[in-house]
């Protein structure tokens, strides 16, 4: 073994190199405050390794990016862990960068003769942020898509060459295949290669000038090996532990629903860019994209010179603290504004629902070549919600919202259709107080109609007790997937009540006086044969003005089929969705 080592050493001088690397003097002894640089090197190393492994699974195109990430996350053994480590390490890198920078600034290590290295550090901060930005888009989910679009739009603010830069980075005018191939080349090739080069120079310059120590020295001098390396390694282990804990706690990195330009999503960047996002609410884009960044860069460049005097150094330290405090404050504002915004919360919930749903379908059926976004578009559960929100929710509600969970601005003027035609829903409908409430017909002219004033309002206590039975009959007509069918005998019994065979209801207040079930007669009110069933509801939505339903008494309900407002298959999807599940209490 020694012979081999000697042979190699004779030809490479490796021993001298290792010795030089390890026996670097640490003036004033090993200290915890020096660990940040090593931690960052470790984190970057982890990112290069895990990133290269992720590369084995990733396919950059608009039909395969989300899909390949989904496959890694849900089908490949341990894929979620690998991706999770890469995701949370990236966040740790940002935190460590700030700590490293602040240590350098507070200790005055940015001053002569280390100016050059300080500038290289700032440059590396920029490259790391660019890595974060490009990595955010790669899964091609809603979050990455919408947030990155904001970032690339900001590029166009650069005078003269902005629009060209934007087109070059995006790979065209619109987001597409080339956006992903370019972002991927940046994220996995150009940027990390630049960072490796910068790290080499950074470490070389650091070694050239040695550790910057404040006099008087706290302890007697020691060496990098093993004292400082032990502290460095312990700190790296702590970072590792934090990242693994986050990865396991959140079961990997999030993956939202696949990017869909027609499916709106509130664009928010990763948390460490939130302060910039918030800033853009107050300043014009040109300021946010050009003036402020240029000012910051120039200011940082000048800091080593400003820091020559004691006052200058204090100004520099103050500048960074102010920058951090400002960022924290803006981040806090951004988060609290979003938390107070009900619509934002609903949008996040909706995206979560879509993500769960598309993953459920992909697991069961696989993903067609057109990509996962086509799965959501063809899914009745997803499309039903969207159709309801777009076409019904300006008057109707679903569990009080628009079908997807969003609150609605317009006042409710028609019934809440969650659990439509179920026993519970009809039972409530037949109670006068509920009938005239906003949840049912309170917003329509039917609240003053015959049914309300002359029938429901007039029922005696005995008659009222029979109404839940009528509700059971009507719900049985609906044949809802989540309700049990009545036995034949029971149905006949309830039908007799509906027909008022035993004169349980006062004349004029019996159902059969106006409505009809199972006979040829046409009553003056909607025919309840097959009430709430798939066929009945489709026909109703197609044309509520048909004599079978409201006829001329229809109150503002559009005839979606007759007037071609919805395609027949859309009405079917909508009906299937409304009938699929009971109301949630």
């Amino acid at each position: 073994m020694k012979g081999i080592m000697d042979w190699i050493d004779d030809r490479s001088g490796i021993r001298g190199l290792v010795k030089e690397a390890l026996y670097e003097k640490v003036p004033g002894g090993a200290r915890w405050r020096y660990v940040w640089g090593s931690c960052l090197t470790f984190v970057f190393f982890t990112q290069v390794v895990t990133g290269t492994l992720l590369w084995m699974f990733y396919s950059p195109s608009t039909q395969t990016a989300w899909e390949s990430v989904y496959f890694l996350e849900y089908q490949v053994a341990g894929g979620w862990f690998l991706r999770g480590v890469h995701h949370y390490m990236a966040q740790a890198m940002i935190v460590l960068l700030v700590l490293h920078l602040m240590q350098v600034v507070i200790d005055g290590a940015y001053k002569a003769p280390r100016e050059l290295n300080f500038w290289f550090g700032i440059l590396m901060l920029g490259v790391t942020l660019a890595l974060s930005l490009t990595g955010y888009l790669l899964p091609w989910d809603q979050k990455g898509y919408w947030a990155t679009a904001v970032a690339t739009n900001l590029m166009a603010e650069v005078p003269l060459i902005g629009p060209i830069i934007q087109k070059v980075v995006v790979g065209g005018v619109e987001y597409g295949h080339h956006t992903l191939t370019r972002f991927f080349a940046l994220h996995a090739g150009i940027l990390p290669a630049s960072l490796i080069g910068l790290v080499v120079v950074h470490i070389y310059l650091f070694r050239k000038h040695g550790i910057h120590v404040k006099e008087p020295r706290p302890k007697k001098d020691s060496y990098f090996w093993p004292d400082q390396i032990l502290k460095d390694a312990v700190a790296c282990l702590a970072v590792l532990l934090a990242v693994v804990t986050l990865t396991i706690y959140f079961h990997g990195a999030p993956l939202g629903p696949p990017a869909d330009p027609s499916n709106e999503f509130p664009a928010r960047p990763e948390w460490y860019f939130l302060f910039l996002f918030q800033l853009l609410k107050y300043v014009p884009a040109f300021w946010g994209a050009v003036i402020i960044p240029v000012f910051l860069v120039v200011w940082m460049f000048l800091q080593p010179f400003i820091g020559k005097s004691k006052v200058g150094h204090r100004i520099n330290v103050g500048f960074w603290w102010a920058l951090i405090a400002g960022s924290v404050f803006l981040t806090f504002l951004a988060v609290s504004e979003d938390q107070a915004n009900i619509k934002h919360g609903a949008a996040i919930e909706e995206a979560k629902w879509q993500a769960d749903r598309v993953i459920e379908i992909a697991n069961a059926e696989g993903i067609p070549p057109l990509g996962a976004v086509s799965l959501l578009r063809a899914d009745p559960k997803n499309q039903g919600r969207r159709l309801f929100a777009a076409h019904c929710a300006s008057c109707h509600r679903y569990n009080g919202h628009d079908g997807r969970g969003y609150p609605v601005d317009d006042p409710q003027s028609a019934a809440d259709l969650a659990g439509f035609a179920s026993t519970a829903w009809v039972t409530e409908l037949l109670n006068y107080d509920h009938y005239v409430s906003d949840k049912y017909f309170g917003g329509t002219k039917f609240k003053d109609g015959t049914m309300a004033r002359k029938v429901l309002a007039k029922y005696t206590e005995e008659e009222n007790k029979l109404l839940p039975e009528i509700a059971r009959l009507l719900a049985d007509e609906a044949n809802l997937p989540y309700e049990e069918k009545l036995e034949e005998e029971k149905r006949d019994e309830l039908l007799a009540l509906f027909y008022n065979d035993d004169l349980d209801f006062e004349d004029g207040r019996a159902c059969i006086d106006c409505h009809d079930i199972d006979s040829e007669d046409e009553g003056s009110a909607p025919d309840l044969t097959g009430y709430g069933s798939r066929e009945w509801l489709i026909a109703f939505i197609e044309n509520p003005e048909d004599s079978r339903f409201y006829g001329k008494k229809n109150d503002r309900m559009p005839c979606y089929g007759r007037d071609d407002k919805l395609k027949p298959e859309e009405i079917e999807i909508l009906v299937d969705w409304i009938r699929a599940s009971p109301a949630t209490p």
Partner: protein
Amino acid sequence: MTDSSKKQEKQEDRRKFIVTSTIGASAACALFPFASGIPSVLDPATRDKGNSEVPWTKIAKLSSLPEDGTPTKFEVILAKVRDAWTTYTDIPAGAVYLARKGEEVVAFNLKCPHLGCAIDYRKNSNDYFCPCHNSTFALDGAVTTENSPSPRGMDTMDTKVENGEVWIRFQQFVPNIKEKVPV
């Protein structure tokens, strides 16, 4: 033992502890990134695709095959193929020779078991011939020459005839070994 030698020993112990912990912690940090990806990278090797998963695929009508047993070439269009995340439908997956044997059918994979070239059927000599390395096969798929480059006969697949339609379980096999082993 003097006090100073005791002190020295203590210091040496301390140094040993520091060196061991440093090496341990550094090694853990250096290995972790690789370790985090091992299960994912090895995933393809740990996935077992048993014979039971091979689906039946409809190839042709029995009546379209010559009754004298002359082989006919057919494309194999699989109804559903999963390639990692994408599920394709009606995708060409290869080709087969079908030859009728009364009411039954034999199916040979078009690929030569030697190195995967496409095998021809020669009408004149009424046998199979691989134009790459000159392997020849009889109509029953067996190798016909002693020093045939192909280590085994042509690869057969399960077939069945239902309602006049020929179905096969289309499979690929490991090339250039004596045994017929599904890939």
